[in-house]
């Protein structure tokens, strides 16, 4: 069987001219005067008939350009794009709707655009009116008087009422209320079940995961990963998290420069007159300045290396997990333990956090060295060891609580 969509060595470049006149001059003198921006390069892609294929990537990665090439609103600069069967592209809901025209007139035009013959138009219209749940009275009004929800419902219904072999969906589901989103998703599911090919582009990884068998991750105009949805999406998500962490670190650096004196952060190597000092803190192997990536329910250990100047000093160690908005999520100290004895001398203290129940978020550690009463602070290192937790499960919030459904 032929693939439904086949792209071979496809590249798409956009020409830019410094001045508008350069375009004309280039045409006349046959001398290149443009610079090319390559939106897509070396794209090889096969989508099989009946497959639901996901397309993910950051803004500007070339997703929309790729969809335009497949839909046919734009031509590839190099390579071959071929599709088998009739294509309906939902590149933008309501593109082609005229605000001054009534719902009915707009639906008729969309129908004609999708090749519905005049004779079948009444049926087509009824079907759309039913799906969009709009009354005849509403459909006789210009669409500029519609609420955005009504508009989107009508546009989605009009675009998907035709029976394409290939459906291209670009972010269309992120509109409308929950009820309509569910309905649209159901319609795409039905296309899938009917053995149609669906090419689906979204920033919503949940939707990609639940709809697509395979996916491609576009990065800077090239395919960075291609294959099983779960693998591709996971790779993309960890890339996104890294980027966020980098961004946050840069911002933190900038923020701490500007907020010197306000922040309690103290470089660990700084000398101090404290009898006991925090020398080093490591979180599951990560050094104090690295961002550590953890997953919910991972076993985590915090190791605090302490240096005691005066071996006789008795002390306790407290550790807190601080969310990136400086809320304490959890804190404990050695002196909270029943019948605890104070510590003494240079040594390591390890805090085991088995099955870390934090959900997705970004956190820091704060470490305190306290006297034997737990009242005086000898030394501290606040907001260190940045770490990011990623929850592979589906519960949401800050922490996983013990729970049980009774059904």
């Amino acid at each position: 069987m032929n693939p439904a969509i086949r792209l071979e060595h496809v590249a798409k470049g956009y020409r830019f001219y410094q001045r508008p006149a350069d375009r004309l001059r280039e045409l006349l003198w046959r001398r290149p005067l443009h610079t090319i921006h390559w939106a897509l390069q070396d794209i090889d892609l096969l989508v099989q008939p009946g497959e639901t294929f996901g397309l993910i990537g950051e803004n500007g990665a070339g997703k929309s350009t790729l969809l335009k090439l497949i839909a046919g609103t734009s031509k590839a600069s190099r390579g071959q794009v071929s599709c088998e069967g009739r294509i309906t592209a939902l590149l933008e809901l309501g593109a082609g709707f005229h605000p001054e025209e009534t719902g009915r007139e707009n639906v008729y035009l969309m129908g004609a655009l999708n090749g519905i013959p005049a004779a079948a138009m009444a049926d087509y219209f009824e079907q759309i009116a039913a799906f969009a749940e709009l009354s005849d009275e509403v459909l006789a009004r210009p669409v500029k008087t519609y609420s955005s929800g009504m508009f989107m419902r009508l546009a989605f219904a009009a675009a998907t009422a035709v029976d394409p072999d290939i459906l291209i969906v670009d972010e269309a589901l992120s509109v409308g209320d929950m009820y309509f989103q569910k309905k649209s998703l159901d319609r795409i599911m039905r296309f899938r079940e009917a053995g149609k090919t669906v090419l689906f582009c979204s920033h919503n990884m949940y939707q990609i995961r639940s709809l697509c068998q395979r996916a491609a991750w576009l990065h800077e105009g090239r395919v960075r990963a291609l294959g099983d949805t779960e693998q591709v999406v996971t790779a993309y998500e960890s890339h996104e998290r890294e980027k966020q962490a980098q961004y946050r670190q840069q911002n933190d650096a900038a923020a701490s420069d500007g907020m010197a004196g306000l922040s309690n952060y103290r470089p660990l190597a700084a000398s101090s007159s404290a009898p006991v000092r925090v020398r080093q803190v490591t979180l599951s192997g990560g050094q104090s300045d690295d961002v550590v990536y953890l997953e919910t329910f991972q076993d985590v250990a915090v190791t605090v290396e302490l240096e005691s100047v005066d071996l006789a000093t008795l002390y306790h160690v407290g550790i807190a997990i601080v969310r990136n908005d400086k809320e304490n999520i959890f804190g404990t100290s050695t002196h909270f333990e029943p019948d605890s004895k104070p510590l003494q001398g240079s040594r390591d203290v390890i805090l085991q956090l088995p099955r870390l129940s934090l959900l997705s978020g970004e956190y820091w550690l704060s470490v305190y060295v306290l006297d034997d009463s737990g009242l005086q602070v000898y030394d501290m290192a606040e907001l260190i060891c940045p770490f990011t937790v990623y929850n592979p499960g589906r519960s949401f919030g800050f922490v996983q609580l013990p729970f049980q459904w009774q059904l």
Partner: protein
Amino acid sequence: MQVFRSHFGALRRHAYLFLLWMQRDIKSRYAGSIGGLFWALLQPIFTIALFYVVFALVLQVRVPELASTSGYFLYLLAGLLPWLSISDGLARSTGALVGQEQFLQKVVFPIEIIPATAVITSLVTQLIGMMFLLIFLVVAGMVSFRWLLLPVVLACQLIMTLGLGCALAILGVHVKDLLQLTPVLLQFLFYSAPILYSRSFIAPGYHKFFLLNPFTALIEAYHWILLGIPINLATALALGFWVLVLGLGGWLLFRLLKPTLGDYL
């Protein structure tokens, strides 16, 4: 011929879409105005009245071929009606594709329809006006068998304006300056065609230069068919030449530039 067939084929395949698109075009042009569709008639009536008052009554222009006050009026109508339709069609085609850029980036659309709509909807006024002109001529007892040639000259006009309109529409995307240039060009074409004046105003030997305006021959053909003002062989050849050049040339240019259109919108 192949070129014509493929493009006319696109228009025929999308005949229903074309029809709806034209309806939308006509409706949206006058949407929200009190006059509504009447503007399609009021605008040319005002223009014709203005030219008639200035040239026939104030300047006392008479065409020797039809020597009377009403003669000049009929002469003016026979040339101005097609010209108003032509210039309206061309002016609107120039900006037609640029104006639809948001739409064309998102929807696969047979873009021939867009300039064709601009040209064809502009014909409506002309056809209504022509009916009145024919009634006037019947009343004046100037009925003629030459009227049977009206569809032919109308077809010539359509091919010329469709070709030029498509070329302007697609060039308007590439060279935005056309939006400023076209009105000037249309003014030039208007005054260099024998619409306000007749051929007898042109010094002998200079007529061939006027034929460089593609619409000179067309307007003279209208004058001949409707009013019986004779034309010579040069005019007939010029008409054939310009129908071929504008029709074929316009389509070819359109076809050449169409594939890359998406990149420039």
